[in-house]
Each structure stands twice: as structure tokens, then as C-alpha cells.
Symmetry: C2
Subunit: 422 residues, 2 copies
């Protein structure tokens, strides 16, 4: 007899959101020889162990330059530390350099990856069963999972072909309120979204801020891909850089631009809380009971990388930006060469890692397994980002070589062609 019943454990454990990630990982473990256009992990081409040593040394040197004696340098890197982090001032300088976002470093909480930033934000905002999160659909599974952990209901808001439909958003707010619910925030990825690949134009961004003010709604802006524009495109202003009334909680990640293995991200929460200080300080209290603080060793590695690049991750990622832009172009050009007749369509994103391919048949987990087993190529069924079946799949350009990419597209084309045969 088993020790525990699954039904006696938290409901999230049987939820699709938490099992989705697991399923996708398992498929890729079962078929290690399949080429993966599923993984959103960054390219491994420039990983170098000596960088870890160099970044650690640079950060220690930076502390010395700030007047820390050797004991204080060691204490800062080795000991338990400030809950909100030890590289907040470096992160603030990075935001100023790369995003024209200017915030008080005290409004930044350095987190264990962006995922912890999501959990902290949603934990703070979920005060009772009436609270609900709106999320532009299709929605990144990480925010859905974070919401499940804190028992926060998520209402998808159809994003449509432009990535955001403001009328849909306003309607969703009004409907939630009519249902007796309290929409706390809307989660949105304005730049090269995961999974849609879509970006909001600047005018839509301004209107979204306006709607948020009118509807008294916070916006949770997630920006892991903003530094990776496609060829001929550039980097648009983030919502946070346009935010004049502290409507935007900004989530940052160093997983794609820094070093995924450091697991360092952050949240900018400069909202004021009546009778308290900044929202960042409230998130910090939650963090003290979630992870105590983000590993200072890991923070030192990211801090060193920022210092090595004069605070600019655009500068730090020159080679990676080139690779992603080239690969993204290779996917859309490659699809055009293989499917010239219009029965298959795909997005042509302005940047990021992801292309969404729409096909005239259902793309489910069974098809993914078949693709892995019989065709040797992995993708992500878009159904994982909706609460329903869909005829689309997501391709990622980030962790394959040019040669692998061509082979993967051939294999995918074979699968699609075989599926199209009646």
C-alpha cells in the first residue's frame, strides 16, 4: 500500500500546468537523439567555466572598490545576506543602460530566477478567493503554475493576432467584477512573447497603461526576450519605461542574457503600500520565508557579468543576438521554402525565440510523441498554453545549430506532410 494518496496532496499536483512541464521534459529525455525545437533554453555555444571564476573575482574587486575590507567581501559573498539582494544597484544600472528604466534600487528584489519573482508577486496579490489574475492568452505556463501554487485563479484574455486586444481586456475586467471577483493584475509579455512570439506596438503599450489606470489594474510585465530582436527590427520601450504612475510590476530574468545556471532574476515593485513602504519590501518579507535570500554566490556571478560588460547585456550578448536572429530567420525562411502553398501558416516574429506554426490538424501530446519517435524532432504543442486543444505548435530557435535546424525542419516537414495525407 502506498504511503500517501495523490488526492490528499495540494490540487496543483494534478493540474495540467504543473504536469505539462514534466511531460515535455520526459519526452525530451526519452528521445535524446531527437532534435529539439521545443526547448527555450539559451545557446550553449559560449559557456566557459573560466567565466565563473572571472565574474566572481570581478564582483569581489567591485566590493573592494566600494570600500569593503577583505572580511566584508567574504561575508557578503559567503554569509546569509540582505533579503532583497546584493546586486540590486547593479541591476538598476543595467535597467538604465539597456531599457531606459530608472528605478530606485530599493524597489528591486533579486530573486531565484524570474519564477520566484512570479510566485512572490502573485502570493502578495492573492489575499482571498475573490482575487483573480488576468493573463493574455496564450499564456506562459510558468505564470499559470505560479498562480496554482498560491491558489490564485487565472482568467485568460484572448490576445488575438496583434498580441493584445484592449476591448477583450476591458471586457474581462468587467466580467470578473460582475462575477464578484477582484482582478488584481494582468500578466503580459509585450516583447516577443512566449509562446506566441508576438509583440505589442508602442501605441498599444500606451493604451494598455491607460486602460490599467482607468480600470485600477496592475500590469505584470515579463521581459525575458526583449534584448533579442529579429533582423531588421529593434527593441521597443518596455511598459515599465513608459509607466508614469507605478502601474507596472516588472519581472526580469538573467536566464537568457546572463547565465541560466545562476538562477538569478528580479522584480521591480516600486508601488507604495499604505502604512508600509514599497511593495518590494512586502515581497521581501515573503521571500524571507520562501528562500531566505538569493544565493550571494550566484548573485556575484551575475554581478560580475554586469560589471564585465559596463552594465549592458546588449553588449554582453552580441554573439547570442546574432545567432538567435539568424536562426529565427532560418525557421521562417525554411518553412516558406518547404510549404509554399498556404496550407500551413506561421508567425514571423519581430524577435525572441519562438515561431508558431498553424496546421490543419490537431497538435496534441500523442502527435509530439509520434514526432519524437518516428521523425526525430521535438516541438511544443500550443495546447500546453491554452486550456483546450489547438491546431498549432511552437518552434524554438534558441538551442540548435544551423545544421541541426535545417535537419529539424526537414523532419518536421515530413511529419506535417504525412499528417496532411487524408
Amino acid at each position: 500500500m502506498a504511503d500517501l494518496e495523490l488526492t490528499s496532496l495540494h490540487a496543483s499536483l494534478t493540474d495540467r500546468a504543473l504536469n505539462s512541464m514534466n511531460f515535455l521534459n520526459e519526452v525530451s529525455h526519452h528521445y535524446p537523439d531527437a532534435i529539439s525545437l521545443a526547448a527555450g533554453r539559451p545557446t550553449e555555444e559560449f559557456f566557459a567555466l573560466e567565466d565563473l571564476h572571472r565574474y566572481l573575482d570581478l564582483f569581489a574587486e567591485h566590493l573592494r572598490a566600494q570600500g569593503y575590507d577583505e572580511a566584508a567581501v567574504r561575508r557578503t559573498i559567503f554569509q546569509y545576506g540582505r533579503t532583497k539582494g546584493i546586486i540590486h544597484h547593479l541591476v538598476a544600472r543595467n535597467l538604465a543602460a539597456d531599457e531606459d528604466v530608472h528605478v530606485d534600487p530599493e524597489a528591486i528584489v533579486v530573486t531565484v530566477g524570474c519564477q520566484e519573482a512570479m510566485v512572490l508577486t502573485l502570493r502578495a496579490l492573492r489575499s482571498g478567493p475573490e482575487d483573480v489574475l488576468l493573463a493574455i492568452s496564450p499564456t506562459y505556463v510558468g505564470i499559470t503554475g505560479a498562480a496554482r501554487l498560491v491558489d490564485l485563479a487565472v482568467r485568460p484574455v484572448l490576445g488575438g493576432p496583434d498580441g493584445l486586444d484592449l476591448d477583450e481586456l476591458v471586457a474581462a475586467v468587467k466580467l470578473a467584477r460582475a462575477d464578484g471577483l477582484r482582478p488584481r493584475a494582468c500578466y503580459v509579455m509585450p516583447d516577443f512573447a512566449n509562446p506566441s512570439g508576438l509583440s505589442l506596438d508602442v501605441e498599444t503599450r500606451r493604451q494598455l497603461l491607460q486602460v490599467a489606470a482607468e480600470e485600477d489594474l496592475l500590469l505584470i510585465e515579463d521581459n525575458p526576450y526583449g534584448l533579442f530582436p529579429a533582423q531588421g527590427h529593434h527593441h521597443l520601450p518596455t511598459l515599465k519605461s513608459l509607466d508614469r504612475s507605478r502601474r507596472v510590476i516588472y519581472l526580469g530574468s538573467f536566464a537568457k542574457t546572463g547565465l541560466p545556471g545562476a538562477r538569478v532574476g528580479y522584480v521591480v515593485a516600486d508601488q507604495t503600500v499604505a502604512g508600509a513602504g514599497l511593495l518590494a519590501d512586502e515581497l521581501s518579507k515573503l521571500k524571507s520565508m520562501l528562500t531566505v535570500n538569493t544565493s550571494p554566490v550566484a548573485q556575484a556571478v551575475i554581478g560580475g557579468k554586469l560589471l564585465a560588460n559596463d552594465y549592458s547585456l546588449v553588449a554582453a550578448n552580441r554573439r547570442e543576438r546574432e545567432i538567435y536572429a539568424t536562426n529565427l530567420r532560418a525557421i521562417t525562411d525554411g518553412l516558406a521554402a518547404r510549404f509554399p502553398n498556404g496550407e500551413i501558416t506561421w508567425t514571423v516574429p519581430a524577435g525572441g525565440f519562438f515561431v508558431v506554426v498553424t496546421v490543419p490538424f490537431l497538435v496534441d501530446d500523442a502527435l509530439l510523441e509520434k514526432s519524437a519517435h518516428e521523425y526525430g524532432v521535438l516541438f511544443t504543442p500550443m495546447s500546453h498554453f491554452y486550456d483546450r486543444p489547438v491546431n498549432a505548435l511552437r518552434l524554438s530557435c534558441s538551442s540548435v545549430t544551423a545544421t541541426q535546424l535545417e535537419a529539424a525542419l526537414n523532419r518536421l516537414a515530413a511529419l506535417i506532410t504525412d499528417q496532411l495525407v487524408p
Copy 2:
């Protein structure tokens, strides 16, 4: 006008447990010249930056010895990785070496410090409002805080002078059930507990396992201090090493024995779940939405330290063990020298960091502030570990030199003497 109301945020933010840690940190920041017998942080005497480099190199070398090529070594340390961790097999060898605990590495989840292990465990076990955690009182504030984050009620079970009263525990289980609640587990720190300093004798440990089986209760064993026995004492078998029926979820920390700044801990959850695998795998699903994975860089540092010491943290902490045992003795001897007349009493723990001093007056936060300001010494009011005022304070021996310790005891004696004057 403020952007948000505190009352619209999660209730934990106004809870004593979350504000307690914050308050104590603030006092120590306000009075940096006060000597701290409050902090439970490890000694900083042996921190050395070159160890970080050495441990990282040792772990990389270990991967090569396992047959990893250079690309795989870099990928393992730099990339997103296995949710349950990359040093689980090294942790299992450490448990075998130091604790005579023998577990399948697959039953281990490497976490962001022990705090994340607590949150994962309580999140899994809290499925509805009827679930409740029992905790031996006085209770470590970290488990109370973790419970608050997942809306899990905690019922204290009076530990008494021996650290655990089995009749009280059985009564608490029955009372909770009579109240329509479901006691999921009992949290206990059998070795040199924080804050009481008390340890359970071996017979009590066996009886506790028996009671857990009879009452169908899980035990959450937290063991951050087990490797630090006092002079003339030794290390008793953990509950987990005596556990023959998977009653014990074991929480491990490397903060005191490894390196606090790595923020690496773990949970052993070898319980089976009907229709699924191990409880560890369910915790892993939760972790994938909480922190994705524990920084592989930080894990590599701890892995390297384990490798450098042939998996034994007893061996790695020879000097630290000596310091803590000497300091602990200096506190109890120093109190005896200063208070020979019996109006003040204190515990004489068999190990760990903490001595509890009982005084004939209330020890509240105001007294702590007065002590910091007027006497230059910091301690922890025991009221922080209860839900009520108490006449006792906790002293920690872990992060002071012998000279600081003598000065701190003089200052504390002055405070107490002044308080005793009617």
C-alpha cells in the same frame, strides 16, 4: 495616496511570523556596534574566496571522472538542469557517511536552502482548510512562516523540559481530529533544537516513530545543527536513520555545515504516492513552478565541498565544531559565574548554537531595543517562537569570538541586574 492597501495583500504580510525576522534584522542594523548573541549565522572565521574556485573546479573534475565531456560539464553547471538537482548522489553519500541514513538519491530534492524544502513540503501537504501542521513548541520561526505562505494552520504542541512530551502530542492529534481537522505532520528538530537547544534521547525518538505510526502522522525532521555536539556529548541517530516505514520527511541544510551563501539545502521524501511515484517527485513538480531548479553553480560549490571532504561534513567542520563547542561552554560557564544565586536559570544544551535564559521579568521587543541601545548586546526574545509573551531569551554562540562573548555576557549581566532592581 498610496498605490496599494496592506489589507488587500496576503494575510501573511501582517502576521507576526513574517515580521518577526524583519524586526530582528532591523534592530541589528540599527545597532551595528552591539555584540550579537542573536544571530544564528555560522562563524565567518574560515571563509576563503579561493574555496569557491577550488570547489567549482573539483565538481567539474568529478563530472569529467563520471565520463562527461567538456560540453556536458559546461551544460551541467551553466544550463537549466534537473529539477531535483545535480548533486543528489553526493548528498546521499553525505547522509550515509555522517548520519547512517541510506536513501535512494531519487528520493532527494536539492532545494534553495532548507527554507524552500519547508515550503515545498507544506505546500504539498496543505490540500484544504482542514489540514493542519503540528509543531513542537517553541517553534522555529521559519516553519511557521512557510506555513503562513501556504495558508496552513500550525498548532503548537508543548515540548516541555525534555523537548517533547508524547502525551501532549497524542492529545494534540486527537483534539485536532475532534475539531474536524486533519493533522498532516508534526514538525520536530530532535537535535539541539532552535530555539530551545533541547535534544530528544534515543528512546523518545523510537517512541515518537511509534506514535507517528499509530496516529498515521508524518514527521518532518529538521536537522541543521546535528553535527555540532557540545563537549562530552555526541551525535545521536536521527529519526530518519531509525525510520523503517517512511514516516519521516527529512530536511537538510548546508547553511551551517557547507556555505550559507550557496543557499543549498534538501529534502528526503521517500514516501510513495498512490498512482504516482515518490513524494520527492511531487515536490519536484511544485519546485518547477517555485524556483525551476536550484542554481547548479551553487550546487557545484557544495558538491565540491563534499568531494573535498570525502563526503563528510563532520570532517569538513572540525574547526567549526571546536569553536561552537567552546563557545557554548563559555556561555553556560559564563552565566554560572555571573549568576551564582539561582534567580536566573538557563539550559545546558548537549550541542548546537543556542542557550535559553529564563529571567523573572518579561523579555519583549522593547527590552531588546533597550539592550541594544543602552547595553550594546543583542539577543532574541523567546516570545518570537511562541504566540505569547515569555520571560526568556535565546543566546547564540555561533558568530562571536571568545573575547566578544565575554564582553557580551558582561553587558547582558548588567542589563539583567538592572532589570532585577525593583
